[in-house]
Amino acid sequence: MTQTLDVHERISQPGRSHTISEPASTAAAVPVAASKFGTFAFTFAIAFAILYTLLEQMNWPLFTYHPAVGKIDFWMQRPRSGEGPPMYWYGWLALSFAGAGVIGWIATLVPHRWLQRTTVFCCALAIVWSVAFIIAVAMDDRTRFDRDVVTWLAWVSAIPSFLAAAVVSYFIPLHWAQRMWTSWLLIMPIGGLAILGYSLKQYFLR
């Protein structure tokens, strides 16, 4: 009976790295898996970096604050005459923190194998999509004056990026995904800051 339960537990939790049958080296490769808070904290930081960069680049705040008149509008509102400059940063932060919090909480519920593969997929998508978009914009001269073309290129470059990320996350060996999981914690914020910094070049090149 004990053996039956033990086998059943191993089968029902295939993603748990700390099951009794796992070798010690595998358990050491995924130390965060031992703690739900660790899983939440790492996933939260990775998800925040991706969400914040995306929301800032697309200008999708949860709300727009008009400090001169003390008014808050839902989603993104352009500046209106007589209402002063709008502020979007609070809206990006609110949506990023809330979204990353939910993703972090979900991460504590799913098996770690899924979590690590999903993390590889999301991070690969973020990187490949950014690179594909930059290349597409650089190759098309119309992007200098036509903002609609830029938006169109952003969505078109998403299709091959999505496929590439799916292929990478499917074929990457699990032990690589496990080893890389903690590294995303630094790669994504630094990568996000590189994109955000580059988008500010208009201020430094005037």
Binding site: A28, P31, V32, S35, F37, G38, F40, A41, F42, F44, A45, F48, A49, Y52, E56, Y65, P67, A68, G84, P85, M87, W89, Y90, L93, S96, F97, A100, T182, L185, L186, P189, I190, G192, L193, L196, G197, L200, Q202, Y203, F204, R206
Partner: protein, 169 residues
């Protein structure tokens, strides 16, 4: 009472907030710098007894600073977010009118780097939990360094913006 309320609603109120933000930022800067020094340049225990102030800083257990950094980072960030309202309406507009584009751009980047630092705080706190795990040794170092860079950058850029139009400018 009315005079007090008027003062608190006016320019003085924002100056007090900015000053509090500055004081907390100085404390945070000290804590994160000392921890970074202890992490990047640890010294052997044997050198501790005969060491000077710098050596003692380097031999202090870096985990001592973790609580101080987390406790200071959050309210400094929140106060900065509050003062940011005044920056947007009272400081940035004249900055743009006077073509201080580098300062504007650098301040925009400050928003981003402190936000990333804020999101890394739970992971930072987690990897510094006692007993310190050898498996996180590298991550502890890099996270501490990231926070140190973000705090130093934010402090210097914030100070530049304050010099343009702030307390004592």
């Amino acid at each position: 009472m009315d005079a007090l309320l008027d003062m608190l609603q006016g320019r003085t109120f924002w100056r007090i907030l900015l000053f509090l933000h500055f004081v907390m930022a100085v404390g945070l800067l000290a804590a994160v710098s000392l921890q970074t020094a202890a992490v990047l340049m640890p010294v052997r225990q044997a050198a501790q007894a005969a060491g000077n102030f710098i050596t003692r800083v380097r031999t202090a257990p870096p985990a001592w600073y973790v609580a101080a950094i987390v406790i200071l980072y959050v309210p400094t960030f929140l106060l900065g977010a509050w003062v940011y309202i005044k920056y947007r309406t009272y400081v940035r507009i004249p900055m743009e009118q006077n073509s201080h584009w580098w300062t504007v751009g650098a301040f925009e980047f400050k928003e981003h780097i402190v936000s990333m630092g804020m999101a890394l705080l739970p992971a930072y706190w987690f990897v510094w939990q006692e007993p310190l795990s050898e498996q996180y040794a590298s991550m502890r170092k890099w996270l501490t360094l990231f926070l140190a860079v973000s705090v130093w950058y934010a402090f210097l850029v914030g100070h530049t913006a304050n010099d343009f139009r702030g307390v004592g400018s």
